[in-house]
């Protein structure tokens, strides 16, 4: 029987894992030493892994488009034209017969054969903080453990360890990180001005509002390559001295981080950030704003082997003036995301790249006195496209007013199970938390198989 208390990390009903038994039998301080070693690294449990070849053409990279604030999905993927709850939003035909999106999404509607929409998402978290955590980790927040985010798990499962670029890059906003996994799976944040009021504390000289800047990768003023190399050589000597008598996990982490930082500063792959070589008409199609640039940059990062990119587009918390705000946000979202799908398809990369577009919850069908919509986790939509996912489908449905899910409810853990399956990763795979609890990638979710086959 599944145990669903979300506030205590563990459960009595899992029973003992082989590892628990193993640890118990070692006893004494040896047992402790073993436990500590594996716990702190949040190590995977090889003996529990039963790789399942869920799909032949699993995706190799993921791009999440994060609509922070909670998007009004009735005005995106599940329009209710003609109903009072639909507001002024119209429904338009897409490239797939019988499927309509809201008129805010004309570009995406043209590539709908690659896109699938889940119109029956249900969750219970109606606050930004908790909803955001849930949709980033697949778990409800608890007091005792910080779960790894989808980005960190993807970086761990799909990432190329030899890549000079970080395997989890967030563009335009801070995001959830590695939780109890090793810190190398934390996101590398690039300020692309996506979050409301700017994500990174950047008051820097960003005169051209569209430049996406990667911070602190160039030498400080007055330092050239020779000086930098000399500094690094001295630093290595200092580290070697210190490590002799202070060998520890922390000191090793320091060394690894500095090596990776050095590699990142000097890798030719940094040219990914130089969008100047792209065709002007393609740049225009993506959209001139930072979001469009971020979408294009995401494609360039995927081309260079980065496993996971999150692009943040804020401004969806539309308690007031919902329809104008959504329509204005979509002037960025639609060309950026629509062109990304088309561009990836034309470059034959879409099969290997999973695209996910979602926010922390939906918004009320009822339009409030300020012409806004409020938080609504009970029935909402999200979008998937690309690698490992069948396109041109709609999963589930809400009732005619969008108030309740009418068929095939999909929970957030189900969504995470679907995503991991599309990546060829077993959603039941477990990682060990610092307190020694095996925690599955998906919280007892069941993949939406209509999307996978």
């Amino acid at each position: 029987m599944a145990h669903d208390c979300k506030d205590c990390e563990g459960t009595r009903r899992f029973g003992l894992s082989r590892r628990d038994v193993l640890r118990g039998s070692l006893g004494g301080f040896l047992g402790f030493a073993f436990a500590r070693q594996t716990e702190t690294f949040g190590a995977a449990l090889p003996e529990l892994l039963l790789p399942q070849d869920t799909t032949a053409k699993a995706a190799k990279s993921v791009i999440v488009v994060w609509l922070g604030g909670g998007p009004s999905t009735l005005d995106l993927w599940d329009p209710k034209e003609g109903r009072e709850t639909g507001g002024p939003t119209k429904a338009i035909d897409t490239s797939v017969k019988g499927i309509q999106y809201a008129d805010n999404l004309p570009t995406i509607a043209k590539v709908a054969e690659h896109v699938s929409v889940i119109r029956s998402m249900v969750s219970r978290e109606g606050s930004h903080e908790r909803g955001r955590y849930l949709l980033h980790t697949g778990y409800v927040p608890t007091g005792t453990v910080v779960h790894p985010s989808m980005g960190s798990i993807s970086a761990m499962e799909l990432g190329n360890k030899k890549l000079d670029l970080p395997n989890f890059i967030s563009l335009g906003g801070s995001t959830d990180g590695a939780g109890f996994l090793p810190p190398e799976f934390n996101p590398f944040a690039v300020d692309a001005g996506g979050g409301r009021g700017g994500g990174g504390g950047g008051k820097g000289p960003m005169a051209s509002s569209d430049v996406i800047k990667i911070s602190n990768v160039s030498y400080p003023n007055g330092v050239d390559k020779n000086r930098f190399r000399e500094r690094m050589k001295f630093l290595q000597e200092q580290e070697a001295d210190f490590e002799k008598e202070h060998a520890s996990e922390e000191v090793t982490r320091h060394k690894t981080a500095y090596e990776k930082a050095d590699r990142l500063m000097h890798t030719p792959l940094l040219e990914a950030f130089d969008l100047g070589k792209e065709k002007p008409e393609l740049v225009k199609a993506y959209g001139e704003g930072k979001f469009g640039r971020s979408c294009m940059l995401a494609r360039r990062l995927v081309e260079r082997g980065v496993a996971f990119i999150e692009i943040s587009l804020g401004g969806w918390d539309t308690h007031q003036d919902n329809f104008n705000k959504v329509s204005s946000n979509c002037k960025q979202l639609d060309p950026g995301l629509g062109t990304l799908i088309r561009d990836l398809q034309e470059k034959r990369m879409l099969d290997k790249t999973l695209i996910v577009c979602m926010g922390e919850f939906g918004r009320t069908p009822k339009i409030n006195a300020n012409n806004g919509r409020d938080h609504y986790p009970r029935a909402w939509s999200m979008m998937l496209a690309g690698g490992g996912i069948q396109g041109g489908r709609v999963i589930g449905a809400t009732d005619k007013d969008g108030v309740e899910v009418k068929e095939r409810p999909v929970t957030v853990p189900d969504l995470f199970a679907t995503v991991y399956s599309a990546l060829g990763v077993d959603p039941k795979k477990k990682n060990v938390s610092p307190l020694g609890r095996p925690i599955a990638l998906s919280d007892n979710g069941v993949a939406v198989k209509e999307l996978l086959t």
Binding site: H3, D4, C5, D7, C8, G10, T11, R12, F29, F32, A33, R36, G143, T144, V146, P166, S174, P183, E184, N186, F188, A189, G201, S215, N216, V217, S218, Y219, P220, N221, G222, R227, E230, R231, F234, L235, E237, Q238, E239, D241, F242, E243, E245, H246, A247, S248, E250, V251, R253, H254, K255, T256, A257, Y258, K260, A261, L264, M265, P434, L435
Partner: protein, 506 residues
Amino acid sequence: MSLATLAFLLLTQESQPAGSALIDQQISKTWADAVVPHAGPSDDAEFLRRVSLDIVGVLPSPDEILEFLKDPRPDKRAAKIDQLLTRPEYAHAWAELWEDVLVGYDQQSRNDSNKALYTWLRDEVFGKNLPYDKMVSALLCSNGINTEVGPVNFLLRLTRKDGGGGVAMASKASKTFMSTQIQCAQCHDHPFDRFTQDDFYGMVAFFARTKAKKADTMDPKDKRMELYDDTKGEASMGEGKAKKTVAPRFLDEIAPPQDLSRRQAFVKLMTRPENANFARSVVNRYWARFFGRGIIEPVDDFSNRFKPSHPELLDRLSKEFVQQGYDMAWLVRTIANSRSYQLSSRRPESASSERFFSYSATRPLTPEQLYMSLMGALGIVDGEGVAKNKGGLLTQFRQRFGEEETADRGVFQGTITQALYIMNGPLPNGEIPRANNKLDKILKQFPAAEDRVDRIFLSVLCRLPSARERATYVPFVKTGAPKKEKEPYEDLYWVLLNSSEFLFNH
């Protein structure tokens, strides 16, 4: 018992306070039992850096270090500990630390509420050495407006969390002050403890009438919040027909005194001497601050899942803490004066787990310690030795290096972002070459390269250079091209600021 361990105990001088001797006796006993090699004593510079970071959260100044190294008194370490406890940075550092534990820090670090809480902690608690039980009582029993009554801010932010009705307040109070995670019993009887759902809602009932409202002032623009006791409000469990009201009842089945408010009754029951976890929780938390890990780890979960490494020590030290009137300065003094705390961080070969406390753990600095260390090493401090928060830099540090869940510990996570920040970021790197900075002052004051190198080491690493380092850096700093004489010194500064030795406490 090995000779080394015997020597360790014999070194325990008569000048050592009784509590410190207890620590050493208990800690060395486990080394003897398990045949664990342990480190030797720390040298004076090593001790001074560590104890300064732990008690006042800042690095010692070069002059302070040299004076301490010269000081011939055998009891100079105890004297230093006493002196640190009287410095204003002590109250500041511990107020920040408790602020993190009590309310955490969010993106808009230090809003008005947190500021009032911080100021109260600094001036009324640590500035006056208010006993711990009194501090907790104020945090749990106060009423009033958030900007005026600092301690109300602990409960205020919890009044509406987790569905309100006292659930979040009872859970957080139990976790923070008793290391007891009652919230597991919210949806089922506790898997790792003896609590039932009834117990949980009995605890919640103590907070069921604690509510927040807009401050009752004439000004409609006044957005301040006020914490107050309502006359109504009950905890209830179950749904539909099974729904029932639960009366206040403390974990071990004690009904509260009737003459007190519900929260006062809670505090009275929690601080009874029989409720040992009240003192054990804070003693363990302090232990973790000084040793890098608790006697029970994690520090906020004393369920039967996690066994203490030194149960007798924790019990006896906690009882002594109660005997001493919950005196937090006493607790700091007792721990810091122990030989165990003063062990070297030079890890003995084949040393086993940190659980034996057989050497001083190498642990990351907290964001606050790192920030103050950079400020100190670069000389960006005012006359009082308190850093000016330059344009929200501390906030940035908390975002880049901090994490709410482990706020009272170090969190240099070793990410690329963190490394790049120190390597190339504006705080150290804008300051290192600036004209008239600390480095310029050193160059002006000390004409000889040897002295300059010494001084830079003292400023950043709080020690004199080793023979290897002198032989490397003294010739190196003389290699500056004409008019660029300062550059190799800047390089040295950069190297030391980026080193593990600077970025960790050890």
